[in-house]
């Protein structure tokens, strides 16, 4: 009997423990009260069938899902890793000098107007005089100088603010940005994350780590809290110079699983997916959800290793170039929603040559077989390296099937992104071809510079896939500093022809971004860059 009592004791102890667990779990989540509040409201309105919450009050909160955890909240932090998922948060807490509109035009933001000198090396910006940081500090030219000097002299910042030299403070509300040489997409760069202005006085007082914990910007939203692995909460800046935003609370929820994101959108836990899965959306049958797409900033290009393996033979490369049926890949991966690719410059990018001015290789399996027969390919393994669990992996598998049909012994090796970088970008080069989307955040043809110019590709520590030549270097450098739009397009057409003729790779398609949202929410417009969503454009 005594032993039975003991057993009962053990079992009830388990129950008590689990109850105790509930208690502590509950109190621990106290910091996310705002998130919970926003969510219940979302559900209430969903049940009500519209934007009106119970009691007829208009809803004023929004929950946005992001796929990975945000890392850094201080845009010019010198040592933290960065990722794409924090960018929309940064663009609402901080502001850039110029705003990139939905159609990729330049709109005034912190700078009311700007002038570019005739030599293209000096950008004079006239700043607003009525902008205050969330802590009350006045935003002046000194803050702009401080921010750009740090960003423009870091390697990550230089990849956007290329050729940046220094910033000259002319008066409190005028700055002159000097470049060492003209840079075509510099205005686009001034819309990006490395031109988000921070408070100089505060940064110098508390340092970048403390600033990162409690970010202070000039943007329409103030940073409230960050719960690691769970959410970031923002609240409206009622004193915002552009007027108080209509959405008062924004919660960024981390949801790594795309199916989970869709379920949450459908049941109203989440209001907006800024990077939604297109395959799920095409099967969606729910009138409470709207979605829309736009050409993204990223390009899917099958990069062939021209230094090692079968890819050293140009006939083999040409066989691949015309042996891939891009339409099938698009159907299989993107439900046919992506735009098929021909050159490594996405539609909508500045500097993109007009159709007809550059060479295009059409799909032609017969010709591919001829090229293959002309090559000295002897059936050795041709390995496509890609990142597992991504759309690129599906694309690689479809391409594998097509190449096998041509008679190429093609295999796919899907690895995690760290291993991918170690194989393709920095490592041993043990690959036949590599497939991974690559984005160009300045939305310009200059993206080619980072793929093919020896200054970027032949640096120590990087794998040389054999795609640089002095001719290509010259074309890309000339196009980078050229100011006349037509001459620039012409230079890029020549560069693309050079790349196509040498069959360094095969551009499969340009990716599309899909945004899906609660149909009652107004003002959501899809963007080429998923980072550029401004929540003060939205209202219920």
């Amino acid at each position: 009997m005594k032993k039975k009592v003991l057993l009962a004791g053990v079992l009830s102890a388990c129950m008590i423990l689990s109850l105790a667990g509930c208690g502590s779990g509950g109190s621990d989540t106290g910091t996310t009260a705002a998130a919970a509040g926003g969510q219940t409201e979302a559900q209430a309105s969903d049940d009500g069938g519209g934007a009106e919450a119970e009691g007829g009050e208009t809803k004023d909160s929004v929950v946005v899902a992001c796929a990975a955890e945000p890392n850094a909240f201080y845009p010019i932090h010198t040592s933290l890793g960065t990722n794409m998922d924090e960018v929309p948060i940064l663009h609402n807490v901080y502001e850039s000098l110029i705003k990139l509109g939905p159609d990729n035009t330049h709109e005034p933001l912190l700078a009311e107007s700007w002038e570019i000198s005739d030599d293209g090396c000096t950008y004079t910006l006239y700043l607003r005089d009525d902008v205050y940081f969330h802590n009350g500090d006045h935003m002046t030219a000194a803050d702009v100088e401080y921010t750009l000097d740090i960003a423009g002299h870091s390697s990550a910042g230089l990849a956007q603010l290329a050729n940046y030299e220094d910033t000259e403070v002319i008066d409190d509300y005028t700055v002159a940005i000097h470049l060492s040489a003209p840079y075509g997409p510099f205005l686009n760069a001034l819309c990006g994350r490395y031109a988000l202005i921070v408070d100089k006085a505060l940064a110098e007082e508390i340092g970048e780590d403390a600033y990162n914990e409690a970010p202070v910007g000039t943007g329409p939203y103030k940073f409230v809290s960050y719960t690691s692995g769970d959410s970031v909460v923002l609240e409206a800046n009622e004193d915002y110079w552009g007027g108080a935003p209509s959405i008062k609370h924004v919660t960024f929820r981390v949801m790594t699983d795309t199916n989970t994101q869709m379920v949450s959108l459908e049941n109203g836990d989440v209001d907006v997916l800024i990077n939604a899965n297109i395959s799920s959306l095409t099967r969606l049958n729910n009138e409470n959800i709207k979605w829309d797409t736009k050409d993204a900033s990223s390009i899917d290009n099958l990069k062939i290793n021209c230094s090692k393996g079968p890819g050293t033979d140009i006939n083999f490369r040409k066989a691949i170039q015309c042996g891939i049926n891009k339409e099938d890949v698009n159907l299989g991966v993107y439900e046919g929603m992506a735009t098929l690719g021909d050159i490594q410059i996405a539609p909508g990018f500045s500097g993109r040559p007009d159709p007809g001015t550059y060479k295009v290789v059409e799909y032609d399996p017969e010709k591919a077989k001829e090229y293959l027969a002309a090559s000295n390919y002897n059936g050795e393994e041709f390995k496509i390296v890609t990142v597992s669990g991504t759309r690129d992996e599906s694309a690689a598998q479809i391409i594998q099937g097509q190449l096998i049909e041509l008679g190429i012994n093609c295999t796919v090796s899907a690895v995690d992104s760290a291993s991918y970088a170690a194989t393709v970008d920095n490592g041993t080069g043990e690959f036949g071809a590599a497939l991974r989307f690559s984005g160009v955040s300045v939305l310009d043809a200059d993206g080619l510079f980072y793929q093919y110019h020896s200054d970027s590709v032949l640096t120590p520590g990087k794998y040389d896939a054999g795609v640089t030549t002095p001719e290509l270097d010259e074309l890309l450098m000339a196009a980078r500093v050229e100011q006349d739009e037509d001459t620039r397009k012409d230079l890029y057409a020549q560069a693309c022809d050079y790349i196509t003729d040498n069959a360094y790779g095969c551009t499969i398609y340009y990716e599309v971004n899909a945004v899906a949202y609660n149909a009652a929410l107004n003002g959501v417009v899809p963007r080429s860059l998923t980072g550029l969503y401004f929540f003060n454009d939205w209202n219920w």
């Binding site: 032993k3 039975k4 003991l6 057993l7 053990v10 388990c14 129950m15 423990l17 689990s18 667990g21 509930c22 502590s24 779990g25 509950g26 621990d28 989540t29 996310t32 998130a35 969510q39 559900q43 049940d47 990975a68 890392n71 850094a72 040592s79 933290l80 890793g81 960065t82 390697s155 990550a156 230089l158 780590d209 719960t227 690691s228 692995g229 769970d230 929820r253 981390v254 949801m255 790594t256 699983d257 199916n259 989970t260 379920v263 949450s264 459908e266 049941n267 836990d269 995690d416 992104s417 760290a418 970088a421 170690a422 194989t423 970008d425 920095n426 490592g427 640096t459 120590p460 520590g461």
Partner: protein, 307 residues
């Protein structure tokens, strides 16, 4: 008894060193240079070299490992290479979610699995027995990500009973706990049934029946006590796998727990975070196993510890 416990705790030390060394070496040999991953594709070669020096990546693996373990022994679990947060602080922030999930799912396994198993054994070849067999097969064959998704669609979208994601209240944990429990629950029912049936055939049970004991007394006093031993072992093993099993569940239900912390850190080669989680988990597993062995002695007086 005390001597036995001390001996077992001392035995934990080499076990933990073995596990951590193994993981440390694997993490260090995995392709992908942490310095390059932290600094991004635009970093210069000099910056990467400087970062490698700063992280101590140029030392031999064993030197790095012992430096790391020296820190751990002083209670310093280091900071994340990637986000620079304090590893132990972050772990403690997240462990309540994972523990709550694990305890709830274990509670479901124990409180539902054992009674169902007993009923299935007592009513052997009856309707309930066959039903549990079918359900057990069904649940244990369903992968957690699929079961979780179906549960979300049915209970969240169609019925609206539970929230689909998050960790704000106990209600948020019900579906994830059921998902996590489903696979082990089935196994638990079958295991309980089998071991009950085995004991049921033994001589002393027949004797008890022969002398006219009531059936309920036989089941509770004679069969259950002896039949529970393997069941306790399996529960111990299940508790030990809380973190591993929760990886998929935490991802599907967007719960900020330790499992998602670790899996994310593995992807970006954030060695201090992975190691911190591994050290704590291996201590935890060691302690749970010790408790299971102690529980044996409580349930079965024939088990003598330490002799």
């Amino acid at each position: 008894m005390v001597k036995y416990i001390i001996k077992r705790i001392l035995m934990l030390i080499p076990v933990i060193f073995g596990i951590t060394l193994f993981i440390y070496v694997i993490m260090s040999l995995a392709p992908g240079d942490p310095a390059t991953l932290i600094l991004g594709p635009d970093a210069t070669y000099e910056e990467i070299l400087a970062k490698r020096e700063e992280l101590g990546l140029n030392d031999p693996i064993l030197v790095r490992y012992f430096k790391y373990m020296a820190g751990v022994l002083h209670g310093d679990f280091g900071i994340s290479w990637y986000n620079e947060y304090d590893v132990m602080g972050e772990f403690l922030n997240r462990i309540p979610n994972t523990l709550l999930l694990g305890l709830l799912s274990n509670a479901i396994v124990i409180l539902v699995g054992i009674p169902l198993g007993i009923i299935a054994a007592v009513k052997q070849n009856g309707v309930i027995d066959y039903c549990t067999l079918v359900l057990a097969m069904l649940f244990s064959s369903m992968p957690a990500f699929w079961f979780g998704l179906m549960a979300q669609i049915f209970f969240c979208l169609n019925l609206g009973w539970f929230p689909a994601t998050g960790a704000e209240s106990l209600k948020h944990f019900i579906l994830p706990a059921v998902t996590l429990a489903s696979a082990s629950l089935a196994g638990q029912v079958r295991l309980t049934r089998t071991s009950m049936l085995e004991v049921n055939k033994l001589d002393y049970v027949r004797t008890a029946r022969a002398k006219g004991c009531s059936e309920s007394r036989i089941v509770i006093r004679h069969v259950l006590r002896n039949g529970l031993l393997p069941v306790v072992t399996s529960i111990g093993a299940h508790i030990a796998t809380i973190v591993g099993g929760a990886i998929v569940t935490e991802s599907v239900f967007a719960i900020p727990g330790v499992a998602s912390l670790m899996i994310n850190a593995v992807k970006i080669r954030d060695v201090p975070v992975v190691m911190g989680v591994i050290v704590v988990i291996s201590v935890f597993v060691g302690v749970v196993n010790l408790l299971v062995d102690l529980l044996y002695a409580v349930i079965d007086p024939r088990v003598k510890l330490g002799s």
